[in-house]
Subunit: 237 residues, 2 copies
DNA sequence: GCAAAAGTGTTTGGGTTACACCCATGC
DNA sequence: GCATGGGTGTAACCCAAACACTTTTGC
């Protein structure tokens, strides 16, 4: 049943990688999507940047593997984690010798903007703006593009924005998240109604003081319903 | 880099399975979703029904593996094929000895109703109504449920219905497909407008004769755009 | 003519967009 | 008071649902 070692070619090996998103203020103060990459220290693609990932341990669930790799490279816990896709094309690695074929199950994750300030950064771990990536190893540019596409799609019909925000927040902050992810300005009035009508968010009753304008209401996500609709797959499948 | 054989526990092995949908007329003439299952001939779950699948060959792309398994069990070619999800939880198999841990990358497929009439059926391959499945092996009930959810969702904002239909078809046939998949009646007038407005379908100019009412226009799918929107993943990733 | 489905027209209501306007605070 | 964003109101518009009605065939 298990793969015979006697066979000429070994079975494809399995890796788990993660696309990790957060929002960071850029030079002009606006929030922008950022993600951490690690520098490869061996062939193929030695010296190029790649998604954090590694082989799947035999006693580890897929999502756990993604989360622990996330923790390991950034020191952070994911606020949201979802499987993205399994990439297994034969031509993913250019040399493509059958002996080292790898199928990667890729997850994508969100980490809060506040936590992300404390993220690990080093010689081999660096955060990039999502729209200014260098040429990455393997098919990782495509993977990030796909993850971005999913994030943007899903933001519009789910409660994903929660993944970036602290416990309580103003509607302006929530709108900033949407504007940063979707990369377009939104009408504050209509945004408010959109958010209020879908019911995911509730006012705390408190207001944020210290601004030099009318103090805005603080809101909290309604914890009784989960972030997103995965259909029959509840959580963490 | 490749998995060491010396390690106490082998790496998880990789399998590809496929949920194959077609539409078949049931007793009362209405179309209903059906799918083929195969009977397991060894433990675990010996004698129970399961999704067609098998180990991934080292020189095979994931989608090719799914398609060839489809061909092998049904004798048919898929009209549509898309990756569904990678299932790899440790508790998928109840015994769950680490030595035979399997991660399954599951695809889902559509086959045309006409072709499906010629599908292979045997002692060990049987077609079931999608809403009347027995208790399946592993987590396959969940997998089918999820595939159904995706099919229903995607039908509404894509050209998936094409996967069931012959080259030319009437709007009534197209509507039948929608009604069968979504399991609810649709207003013919509004359905027509919906289809016409999205532009995926073009009139051939020919009409279907021999009905005992006004002869309906025959349509064809506009082949210039593909079935569905996978985002940055073009086709067959 | 009659039955049956094809195909068209029309009304209505809900939801989104654009934008004007008032409110409450710091300075 | 004034500037600044918070927050409310509203008219225009678009789109989808409901349903009445006309058209074209076989019998």
């Amino acid at each position: 049943m298990s793969t015979s070692v006697a066979s000429a070619i070994e079975a494809p090996s399995l890796a788990v990688s993660t696309v990790i998103f957060t929002l960071r203020p850029c030079e002009d103060g606006q929030l922008k999507l950022a993600l951490p990459l690690v520098k490869r220290i061996r062939a193929p693609f030695e010296g190029q940047w790649a998604l954090p990932g590694g082989p799947l341990k035999p006693d580890e669930d897929l999502a756990d593997a993604a989360a622990s790799k996330l923790k390991q490279t950034t020191g952070l816990e994911p606020r949201y984690l979802e499987q993205l896709y399994a990439f297994g094309n034969l031509d993913r690695s250019p040399m493509s010798k059958l002996e080292d074929r790898v199928v990667s199950i890729v997850y994508w994750a969100l980490v809060g903007t506040v936590e992300a300030e404390k993220a690990i950064e080093s010689e081999n771990v660096h955060w990039f703006w999502a729209d200014e990536l260098p040429k990455l190893a393997f098919d990782h540019n495509l993977i990030v593009e796909y993850a971005l596409w999913r994030l943007r799609n899903k933001l519009e019909y789910s409660r994903l924005a929660h993944g970036f925000l602290p416990e309580t927040f103003t509607l302006a902050q929530l709108r900033e998240v949407y504007e940063a992810v979707l990369n377009k300005p939104l009408d504050p009035a209509n945004f408010r109604r959109m958010v209020e009508s879908n019911g995911a968010v509730v006012a705390t009753g408190e207001r944020l003081a210290g601004t030099r304008h009318r103090p805005p209401q603080l809101y909290r996500y309604d914890s009784s319903i989960d972030l997103t609709d995965l259909g029959p797959l509840g959580e963490k499948q």
